[in-house]
């Protein structure tokens, strides 16, 4: 915490810069982790691309230009042009906005649903807990895509549908994945000791239960963002994702699909963009997991 209570240290002048705290060990480990490096760099690039697209793109990503169809990559059109003569690089830049929005939105929804389920599963009376467990088991059986399809036929295809469907099903997923860990921790001696010492259930949740499932949460949220981007591609391909006036990487795949026999290279770019971004979120999650999970940092002691 950088904002310490100033009354605690009355001798120190609050306007003077405090001596720098030593960086925690996990930070050093994180920076040195190659996956973390790749993930951070790609995510920064993604954010930069999305931001840049608001100020500048090489060409108008929306305007069809029938004289410029299927240009190959050149200095004029870095990645070539598509079936209606749009500059593929420009469309990719604008498409990054959708990717960022879908990823953040889904993670937010997933976090809310996940924490709610974890709290319900850890703090409530046995019958509520078991009931929630049954409900989670049922909900998890609904594949994301089916939820999205049912929502899409209600509200029409939209990115909100993608965000809600992915966020919801990943929240449920987090609830399910963290359950065994919660169950294990709930029985642990130190939790019982805390209870015996008069510690309330909320206190138990924040000091023991949530920190214990935090690695699961973080990894799952990072994966949720990855899955959100993949789901956008799949749903836009089926026609339930981004509307036709919103450029997105998934829509690009869908639009270029009919031409893969004649112009196979055009479909390379949006697919590559999706893959590299999804990889970044996956690797970032893995890196955080490696760094925060003490059981894994112990692994090098025993080498097979």
């Amino acid at each position: 915490m950088s904002t310490q209570n100033p009354t605690r240290n009355p001798t120190r002048n609050p306007t003077r810069r405090r001596p720098r705290r030593p960086r925690p060990r996990w930070f050093a480990a994180f920076v040195r982790h190659p996956s973390a490096l790749y993930g951070s760099v790609v995510i920064v690039l993604l954010l930069a691309a999305a931001g840049l697209s608001y100020v500048w793109t090489p060409y108008d990503p929306q305007r069809a230009n029938p004289y410029d169809q299927w240009f190959g990559p050149s200095f004029e059109h870095l990645l070539g042009t598509d079936n209606i003569g749009r500059d593929i690089f420009s469309v990719l830049l604008v498409g990054a906005r959708v990717t960022v929005g879908v990823a953040l939105g889904s993670a937010l929804v997933a976090a809310i649903v996940g924490i709610a389920l974890a709290a319900l599963g850890a703090l409530t009376a046995r019958w509520v807990r078991e009931g929630v467990a049954v409900l989670v088991d049922v909900l998890i059986a609904f594949p994301t895509l089916l939820i999205a399809m049912m929502l899409a036929s209600a509200f029409g295809g939209s990115l909100l549908v993608v965000v809600l469907a992915v966020g919801f099903s990943f929240g449920v997923n987090i609830g399910r994945v963290s359950r065994p860990e919660l169950r294990r921790v709930r029985r642990a001696d130190y939790v019982l000791a805390g209870r015996a010492a008069g510690r309330g259930p909320i206190r138990n949740l924040t000091t023991h239960l949530l920190p214990n499932v935090a690695p699961v949460f973080i990894v799952q949220l990072s994966w949720a963002m990855a899955v959100a981007i993949l789901a956008e591609a799949g749903l836009s391909y089926l026609g339930y994702g981004a509307p036709s006036n919103t450029p997105s990487w998934g829509r690009m795949l869908a639009e270029l699909q009919s031409y893969i026999g004649i112009h196979p290279w055009s479909v390379l770019w949006p697919g590559l963009a999706i893959t590299l971004t999804v990889l970044a979120f996956n690797l970032l999650g893995d890196a955080i997991r490696d760094v925060t999970d003490p059981r894994l940092t112990r692994a090098p002691l025993v080498t097979a």
Partner: protein, 316 residues
Amino acid sequence: MIRFLLTRVVLLAIGLLIASALIFFTLRVLPGDVAQIIAGTQGSPEQVAAIREQLGLNVPLPLQYLDWVGGIVRGDLGTSLVTGTPVVEELTEKATVTVPLALLALVIALLVSVPFGVLAALRRTTATGTAFAVTAQALAAVPVVWAGMILVIVFAVWLGWLPPQGFPRDGWEDPGDAIRSLLLPALTIGVVEGAVLLRFVRSATLEAIGQDYVRTAAASGLTRRRALLTHGLPNVALSVVSVLALQVAGLLVGAVIVEQLFTLPGVGRLLVTNVGNRDLEMVQGAVFVFTAIVLVIGALIDVLARALDPRQREAT
């Protein structure tokens, strides 16, 4: 164990009931009028009303639901509102494409993930281990649609070994032809899902390597590899099995997309078409069957996990 099995069966039944209610009422809340679609744009209000009456759409919703659930118990999912064929008949016909596709994909996924995942963990300090891990990471990040397109470009357009899309008109009349047309779609799902699974296998194996009992076994004279294989792997199997339940959902979703990409006449394609048609009976039938498959397999895996894990048997 018998008591556990009984409770699991009861839970499964409750689960199916909740799922059916969720599906039924979610779909009924959706806007759009089937009767209007059947009557067409020329249909007069009287015609639409007559069709509504005939389809039983005027009956109160809870009664319609009870009717539907009663039908499910007797193995009857209703009849398609558009074509008039029984839903079960249509689904079983399409399942002859989707079930082999999913099984083939599952086999490919397991063949890819289990051996290479354990190997990637055991050799994690060497170049081979890193190569496996990196390849799996990259493949797991590939969108299924794109993977399918690349495979089509390479194996159908360039090499010409396999058909780019479609399924033989006479179905399984010529099994060779049918399998040939399922190969690329199954490979698409299998490789992507296998890569996802490989990451689980690898991290489960890594986790097992770090456990005290493996260290103790190694300290008491077993080679480290033997210690891991005899004491660690059962735990790896356990976490892989529990992940498999989630993978089934992945396979089915993959099937929906891949059947669209390769124009296979399967359940997924049926579903996509009928969401567009607003054929409620068909959509709720297909969604229910998908969900039921995942629930039943989940229950089976629960039982299996309990049989494999003595710790769970002692608990509760």
